[in-house]
Amino acid sequence: MLKTLLTYFFLSIAFSCLCQTIVFKGIVRDTLGEKLPLAHLTVLPDSLTTTTDENGQFSIRTSPGEKLIQVTYVGYEVFQQAVLLNSDSILSITLKLKVDQLKEVVIRGQRNTLQEIFESNQTSTNVLTQDEINAIPVLGGEADVIKTLQLLPGTIRGVEGSSDLFVRGGAADQNLVLLDDAPIYNTSHLFGFLSVFNVDVLDRVEAINGGFPASYGGRLSSILDVKTKSNIPDKTHISGDIGLLASRLFIEQPIVKEKASFWIAGRRTYIDQVIRVTGEELPYFFYDLNGKIILKPSANDRIELSHYSGKDLLDLFRDRNNDGDGFLTSYSSGNSTQSLRWSRNLHQNWFSTVSLLRTKYYYDIRNAFEENELVASSDIEDYGTRILIQKDSLFGSGTFKTGIDWTRHQVSPNIINTAGTITEILESSSTAGKVANELAVHFQYEWSPLEKWRVAIGMRGSMAVVGQKQYVNPEPRISTRIALRDDEALKLSYSRMTQYLHRISNSAVSSPTDIWYPVTESIRPQTAHQVALAWQKNFPSQRIFFSAEGYYKTMNQLIGYEEGTNLFLNTDFESSLIQGKGKAYGLELLLRKEAGKFTGWLSYTLSWSWRQFDEINTGQWFPSRYDRRHNGAVVAQYAFHKRWAVSMVWEFISGARFTPIIGQYVVLAPTLTGVDLLPVYSGINEVTLANTHRLDMGIKFKSKPGKKFQWSWFVGVYNGYNRANPIGITIEQDELDGSLRYRQPGLFGLLPFINYGFKF
């Protein structure tokens, strides 16, 4: 009897030991402190495996005892460490770069972003790092996020030099651009030639064109999530760049070791100062100011406070007669954003992020001449919050995310004040200001039903309240990934998106004076359905990635304008707005290499984009303005020496669509003193402009590696063979015989650039 009792006693202890599990979690970084997502972690002898999340963190349940922890990450030495786990434990792991990698001229510490994309469930996603953006020669030699994105598949640019993005047949206002979670309403400086993003502050840029996770919403076509640096450095870093168009400076300073730091960055163009030296005046400049405070008060908490402000200013006074009565033009526009983000590891593998946001965009125009004055202004200001809660390892290997987003938009669309005689042709007027509240609740669960099959199902319920009007929209999201082989995957996604805020803009080209306007009782939310199917192949050892993706998208309640609507200084635009439909479909190919001496990508997009409005074109479907059939780019960088690298971009895009004047007719002038000439236009977007292609080249020379003070010279040329990239069709008169002819002018010809960069 005693023997039996003792047996049961010891067995029960043994069972309780077997059932007892502990949580082993931690973070994986490299020697520079960079977090390493999707690092592969194995716990032996239990043969448990997991991968780190986007923050480099992992969490795994295991039994207590002696374990061997093994971590692998492409390009890094294998990490192994024996640990004794008796209770819940946290471990910080640092991986070292493989020795032979140091001999190659690669960007050290670069994440394997292609591996991330390949492993992820999401279709239609591209990731860019600061180094990739810096290596590409673009307009004026200024590294630019938007210009680089325009070289990737699925993203079509508008007029040459502009910062507009047209993603999978969508309009330019259908892209949500976030800077540390805060929306940016106008992404351009210098009337679109440069974007507002200072490359020095960037950590990661993720562009999602389809297969949207449930945590994102608010726009139909894309999410551009720009994250700035968020690591706490161990010492002061200073870097800068001096170029022909602008210069920038970045300073990063630790405050408390591993617990607090800040960085600050500024950029300013000095083209006004350069022109002044020649004796002329060009009173225009822009600047950007970014700053961030990073706090890590405990092992489980992280707080980031970000700020951005940027402005374009033009102040012109022309007094030709030198009598003090001149023509004054002043223009000012700018963005300002602040975000406070608190991330916390909660109990039981829960993780939370709470963000408070504020963003504002405005423009002011003032023209004055003698007793006449015209003042126009507009602004939009948002306050909002985002709460996200996530749990890994739910019901096994599942990940659950849920959250709530709230944004209050205060819109003052258009105020025009006139004084003096000019009131005869333009009276003071204004569009009534509006307050719109946008609320969304979302959840998403991702798990593996079978070993090689991963599914994410989510729902986003969104709502907008404007005055007495409410709109509610469900937005289901589904994405799935099937691993055909270790290096080959098939992905499928479906998303429904809703947009409650629209940009009132000329369909041909956006301008800083465009205004944002919410839904109203008569203007309904825009919606879209999108399906995407992708086949991807990854070569991790060579860091080569190939993707072929097809998509089909339908859009409803798209914003358009009645024929003849002039949006310039128009406060009564709402009565001219019409709503219609759109559809877009295409195939995108991308071959990309991100490591080694030779890096870059080949991209190609074959696409169609259509629109239909009952009120125009007799209700028939017509091609959209940026229905550009073929869109391809070759982007390449070759580091043939540890101090020398050459880069090139060759871009080809089918001509944009255009509606030219094809004829004229005369009618009697109302005063009977003559006849008026009136234009006859072709069918809407009936004519295709000439194809655009352009070659940009650059060569970079750097200081010796290992020196404390690092410098580089980057010299190159934009539009190397000086080809016009048409922005439209005009009618010109021949200087010799006076005859008229159609012409397609371009904006920029061959533009050389030279930049000097430094860091220490």
Binding site: L244, V274, T278, D325, E370, E371, I422, E424, N506, A508, V509, Y561, E563, G564, N566, L569, N570, F658, P660, I661, I662, G663, Q664, Y665, V666, V667, L668, A669, P670, T671, L672, T673, G674, V675, D676, L677, P679, V680, Y681, E686, V687, T688, A690, N719, N722, R723, A724, N725, G728, I729, T730, S739, L740, R741, Y742, R743, Q744, G746, F748, G749
Partner: protein, 291 residues
């Protein structure tokens, strides 16, 4: 000191040279515009334009659409009219009193008859051209408005400009009405030069807020400069809603400076099968010599 100053000057010269060279490179290499292929050819269509002369005659101007490359603001007006006038058409106007066939005058103009137009009555225009086919339109004769009082004088802005200031009032006809005011400078010297796009001053008035009541205002003709001795014609017309919308569209697009940055416009027309407008309104025209 002198050497230092000279070195500074030399450095400044070199710097300026580099900067100017850079600017020349930046702005000097403008690419040659590309030729255009594949622009559709405009389909020839009949264009109708009409006006009642105060003595109850009507003039119908018949032209046809022409290519965008065939004429501009600088073209010779007579040569243009010779090219586009339609002179093979049969033009009739049918009203309560019967059908009138207009006589062919010169340069695509048809008229020469006194037709007893009656305010409020509907009239149908039919045009039949052997080459361009048939078009038709229907319109209603609008009641003729009359200035109750009107004066025109010079207004000195206090700067270099002298504007014409018009003060007027009239009695609105009961019912919905739409009015057009025009001010045109009459100068013998450039009358012919200004035939294409004469750019007269236009103002529209909608009687929604003063239906059937007297209405008056004062306005300045902007942006035009006048001098003492200039002659101007000020006219007030009661026009149809369709024509009001047409003129409003033209006024709205006067700020469309760059054609490829503006929305394309197909101007409305009440001509079935063609373009232009069939209007029957009689303006009240007053002439002033500004003093």
């Amino acid at each position: 000191m002198k050497m230092g100053s000279r070195a500074f000057d030399i450095r400044k010269i070199i710097l300026n040279t580099i900067i100017v060279s850079t600017m020349m490179i930046l702005f000097g290499c403008l690419p040659e515009p590309l030729d255009v292929d594949g622009v559709p050819v405009v389909k020839p269509q009949l264009v109708v334009s009409t006006q009642i002369i105060p003595d109850q005659s009507v003039v119908v101007l018949l032209t046809k659409t022409f290519g965008a490359l065939d004429a501009s603001d600088d073209s010779d007006p007579q040569a243009l009219l010779d090219q586009i006038s339609v002179e093979d058409a049969t033009v009739t106007i049918t009203g309560p009193a019967g059908t009138y066939t207009l006589l062919s005058l010169d340069n695509g103009a048809y008229g020469g008859l006194v037709i007893p137009f009656e305010a409020g009555e509907q009239y149908e225009l039919k045009v039949n051209s052997e080459l361009l086919g048939e078009v038709s339109a229907v319109t209603t004769v609008m009641p003729r408005p009359t200035f109750e009082s009107i004066k025109a004088e010079l207004y000195y802005t206090g700067f270099d400009d002298t504007l014409a200031q018009i003060t007027y009032n009239f009695l609105d006809t009961p019912g919905r009405n739409w009015y057009m005011l025009n001010v045109q400078q009459i100068e013998r010297d450039d009358l012919l030069d200004d035939v294409l796009n004469p750019n007269s001053f236009m103002k529209l008035v909608d009687d929604a807020e003063f239906d059937g009541l007297p209405y008056g205002e004062s306005f300045r003709v902007f942006p035009r400069d006048f001098s003492p001795g200039d002659t101007i014609a000020v006219s007030l017309s009661n026009i149809s809603k369709d024509y009001y919308d047409f003129i409003q569209l033209r006024l709205d697009n006067r700020f469309s400076f760059v054609e490829y940055l503006s929305e394309p416009i197909n101007y409305p027309s009440n001509i079935k099968g063609g373009r232009g407008f069939f209007n029957l309104y009689v303006p009240d025209i007053r002439f002033f010599v500004l003093e």
